[in-house]
């Protein structure tokens, strides 16, 4: 079923126009020895009815989970209107807005996205999005080092970036893949380490191009970001300041101080990060096993020409009427080729459309409600878990909607995760050994929390009994 509209007569008459006898002759410039044989592993085509049956079965097989995993991707309620509009053919099946006049819908939407996102971050500018949160962070690191080098007119590529707070192990891996080829070194400090600013002293003599401050941290902690920004903004012993990258959860930024306002300086102009970035998935994009999501990136206006990715600008047409087009394209690969700010050619347009419509539907107050409900739900689940004797709560400080618990030392997190999954509960992210990172969002009800706690309590008892029995059998 190749969706081809041609009748046999169409094909015959078209071949006649090109003066060929059959379709095979269309490929006569391909050398004989390079002609393909028939496919071996690709099955015969299916009818729509057959593929529907197969896919319905596979989706049913995967079932409905009660999910308590976060760790960089979060389950939120997505208003039905979001994907109903995004799925309109006029949005879904349009292309990159290179022909501006024929893409005004998408271009205005992206302009509105850039406005909302920049404002949510408390910064001046936003690009039209990047692939996902992890690759956005990698691009932010490259951008920050570029900005810093431009400032000091240094030509060498070597850079050094310091992470102030717990970072996702997955983000670390992506940074390694995408950034280290540019001779940039990355050093990591945990959230616990940076709680005491004295621990940062040893870094003050080094030339740090930029720091990354996650808020909340990977383990859910709300960090003292004002002090960290002040530290990065003070001159080090070489009379040098570092740029600051804020890696943030966009939902949380409706409740917590946004990166553009971080810092204690009386002169508000001097506060704020240089670049904010992160995962946009929370804003109206389904979990969908990890993608497609979108990465966002915002910056102060003095850095906009170093920002990677597409940017939409507002302008006028020949009649002076409001219109929108891609702008600052001189940064991009199709013009600059090997000298571009990045090799990225796409943004995640469809997901940005979802994000924009989500933000427009919720409004700032709605978003703040979602953030507060997430936070309260996580607190409430933590309180219920605290009542279980075998569980120790590791997160003692402030957290947003994720926290860490510790199981008894003879029980591995992976065992519990597996047992909970058998009951269609995704228990949390495995931090290794016997620790779990648990997330609760606004989608959970008190009954969901009770189901989690009772399932966990039952499983812990079961595992304890199992242990006792196995010890007895050893004794026998």
């Amino acid at each position: 079923m190749p969706f081809i509209p041609h009748s046999q007569e169409d094909i015959a008459s078209m071949l006649e126009v090109i003066n060929l006898n059959n379709l095979e002759e269309l490929f006569d410039e391909i050398p004989k020895n390079l002609r393909a044989e028939d496919f071996k592993n690709i099955p015969e085509g299916l009818t729509e009815q057959e593929i529907s049956r197969l896919m319905l079965e596979r989706a049913a097989q995967d079932g409905m989970d009660l999910n308590f995993i976060g760790a960089g991707a979060y389950q939120h309620h997505i208003p039905w209107a979001v994907w109903d509009i995004v799925s309109r053919g006029e949005i879904m099946t349009s292309y990159t807005p290179y022909q501006a006049e024929a893409s005004q819908g998408n271009l205005q939407l992206i302009y509105e996205y850039q406005s909302m996102m920049a404002s949510l971050m408390g910064l001046d500018c936003s690009n039209a999005s990047l692939y996902d949160g992890a690759s956005a962070l990698a691009e932010a690191v490259l951008m920050a080092v570029r900005c810093d080098k431009n400032k000091s007119l240094e030509n060498n590529l070597n850079g050094h970036v310091l992470v102030l707070g717990d970072l996702s192990p997955r983000y670390k891996e992506v940074l390694e893949t995408l950034v280290t080829h540019q001779k940039i070194k990355i050093s990591y400090l945990s959230s616990e380490q940076v709680q005491n600013l004295n621990n940062l002293k040893i870094w003050e003599s080094l030339n740090i191009n930029a720091v990354i401050i996650p808020q909340p941290s990977f383990l859910g902690d709300i960090q003292a970001v004002d002090d960290l920004v002040d530290w990065a903004h003070q001159e080090n012993s070489n009379k040098k300041k570092s740029l600051v990258i804020g890696l943030v959860n966009p939902i949380a930024m409706s409740l917590l101080k946004p990166p553009g306002e971080w810092g204690n300086n009386k002169n508000l102009e001097l506060n704020g990060v240089d670049i904010a970035c992160g995962e946009g998935q929370s804003l109206g994009v389904p979990l969908s096993l990890g993608g497609p999501y979108f990465g966002f990136m915002c910056c102060k206006k003095n850095w906009v020409r170093q920002m990677p990715g597409r940017i939409v600008g507002r302008t006028v047409d020949l009649d002076g009427k409001e219109g929108f087009c891609l702008t600052l394209q001189a940064r991009e690969q199709h013009i600059r080729r090997a000298k571009a700010t990045s090799n990225i050619c796409t943004n995640q347009g469809l997901l940005v459309a979802a994000g924009t419509i989500y933000m427009a539907l919720m409004g700032f107050n709605g978003l703040k409600q979602v953030a507060m409900q997430c936070h309260l739900n996580a607190l409430s689940l933590k309180n219920k878990l605290e009542n279980l004797d075998q569980i120790k709560i590791i997160s003692q400080g402030l957290f947003f909607h994720e926290f860490v618990i510790e199981l008894p030392d003879f029980i591995s997190a992976s065992r519990v995760i597996e047992k909970m999954a058998e009951q269609n509960i995704q228990a949390g992210f495995n931090l290794g050994a016997n620790q779990l990172l648990i997330c609760s969002t606004e989608v959970h009800t008190p009954a969901d929390h009770d189901r989690y706690v009772s399932a966990l309590s039952y499983i812990l008892q079961e595992l304890q009994v199992e242990r006792v029995l196995s010890q007895e059998s050893v004794l026998c």
């Binding site: 090109i18 379709l23 391909i30 205005q108 969908s288 939409v312 796409t346």
Partner: protein
């Protein structure tokens, strides 16, 4: 300037009650929250306050200002704007798939993983490669993965002097940008007058510094690179590897395979060849495929099946030589699901048929447009799934440009072909009709192109003002860059 921005429709202090999670929440004085004052946000972000209908109407009206495949023919060269089957989108949008957390236990994602595993098998058969990773999120990321694998291959052999990539001058802009991002320098290889890579210059350009070459075949000139066998020999003899840019795979499915041509690594653009929606510029999906030489370096994760037939993600421990992770999770999984559904719908015969008709459509259009008076980029060559027109003659005679023709096409209800790419053909249009357009639409396109040529001859000044019938006229992009306005601010 009258503005249609959503921010002007907003009013203060309105909350869309239906969507708020809990109306009883007191956000200002919540005793249950333990977050101290100094951590909380005081400023307000400029998100609009509107009813659901107001938002739905605003974005529905905006959508109607777009061209799209569903509403217009989109002969955009190198972008393969074919029909995106509704079934693929709908079936991939079932809640069982959508609500699946990327780190959920594998036992609860077996259905999803089965689709990804089978997609891997299909892609390998289609391309003649022996290894695959679905994780790159777009073509450019697939390219980067490929180039990094080539780098890892040379490094593993202690072959550290290979710092240079060869790239034909006709290549996509992402190719040199990617090579640079991976830390390589770029050497451009010119194209000869027949549109093939200049073999003599290629021979002189290879050496101990050559890491590899990046090629598209059919090339961006819409021509099958006839010397590909010879090119592979030259590069391999010099110790380099061949990278295949899969942008144009829609021309050769079932006809020729990159693996058989001698390529060592390639990416596919599933949003082109496998009809996943372009979504106004993304998401894409750019799986990388390799032969045995590069298998140890594939980006993770890769989907595999254990002895009990259970699917799982292979991570770093199982692919120790991997170049690493490219995304936080598993790439654009939801898009891969759509591609899988598309591939199963078409099947082995359908995929082959798609390429046959794509090439038939392009060659038909090419002959017809030449008859209508247009100049072809390469009139003595067979077209592939796309071909080049050059407006150089009309540019000299009537002072009109490829841009003017492109903009006028919009008035007649056709999206413009790709303009000014590839860079080495002056005033060019790259036309790719795809297999899903009917003969009737192609004939209409030819007729309109004929009308525009007549307009160019009779009233060239008129073309300069096009388009006339869309929501805006030609836009001032110089002003856009000069008086930079990229975010609305509440003043």
């Amino acid at each position: 300037m009258l503005s249609n921005l959503i921010f002007y429709k907003s009013r203060k202090n309105f909350l869309n009650n239906n969507l708020a999670p809990n109306l009883n929440l007191n956000l200002d004085k919540n005793k249950n929250s333990n977050i101290p004052e100094e951590y909380l946000r005081k400023s307000i972000a400029c998100l609009p306050n509107l009813s659901e209908l107001e938002v739905v109407r605003h974005y529905t009206q905006l959508s109607q200002k777009n061209f799209s495949i569903d509403t217009h023919v989109y002969p955009l060269g190198s972008c393969t704007m074919k029909y995106n089957p509704r079934a693929a989108h709908r079936l991939a949008s079932q809640l069982g798939f959508l609500n699946k957390h990327p780190l959920a236990h594998p036992r609860s994602c077996q259905g999803f993983l089965a689709c990804l595993y089978e997609l891997q098998e299909i892609l390998m058969d289609l391309t003649g490669m022996t290894g695959v990773s679905l994780s790159p999120m777009a073509g450019a990321q697939g390219e980067l993965a490929g180039v990094l694998m080539i780098k890892a291959y040379h490094q593993a052999r202690g072959d550290l002097a290979r710092t240079e990539f060869l790239i034909p001058d006709a290549a996509h802009g992402t190719n040199p940008a990617t090579a640079a991002m991976a830390g390589f320098s770029v050497k451009e290889i010119p194209t000869n007058s027949d549109g093939d890579v200049d073999l003599e210059i290629l021979k002189q350009s290879v050496g101990p510094k050559t890491a590899g070459i990046m090629l598209t075949n059919p090339s961006t000139l819409g021509l099958f690179e006839r010397n590909i066998g010879k090119i592979a020999e030259i590069i391999h003899e010099a110790g380099g590897l061949l990278y295949y840019d899969g942008a144009n795979l829609n021309a050769i499915m079932g006809k020729s395979r990159p693996g058989d041509m001698g390529f060592d690594v390639m990416h596919m653009n599933l949003h082109k060849t496998f009809a996943t929606p372009h979504g106004g510029g993304g998401p894409g999906a750019g799986p990388v495929l390799v032969n045995d030489k590069l298998k140890p370096y594939l980006p993770i994760p890769v989907v595999d099946k254990d002895a009990h037939g259970k699917y799982f993600f292979k991570n770093k421990e199982l692919v120790p030589g991997s170049i690493g992770k490219l995304s936080a999770f598993h790439g654009n999984a939801g898009i891969l699901l759509r591609a899988y559904i598309y591939a199963r719908l078409l099947g082995r015969e359908g995929l082959k048929r798609a390429s046959e008709i794509a090439v038939l459509n392009a060659n038909y259009l090419m002959v017809k447009l030449e008859q209508a008076g247009y100049t072809l980029g390469f009139s003595n060559r067979r077209g592939t799934h796309e071909f080049i027109l050059t407006i150089q003659k009309e540019h000299k005679e009537f002072n009109i440009s490829a841009l003017d023709i492109a903009k006028r096409l919009l008035d007649y209800g056709f999206h413009a072909p790709t303009m000014y790419f590839p860079l080495l053909i002056p005033e060019c249009l790259l036309v790719e009709p795809t297999e899903t357009e009917s003969r009737r639409e192609l004939d209409k396109f030819v007729e309109v192109m004929g009308l525009i040529l007549k307009e160019a001859q009779e009233k060239p000044e008129f073309l300069k003002g096009a388009p006339y019938s869309l929501s805006v006229k030609r836009l001032d992009d110089v002003k856009a860059a000069k008086d930079l306005d990229i975010a609305w601010v509440d003043r």
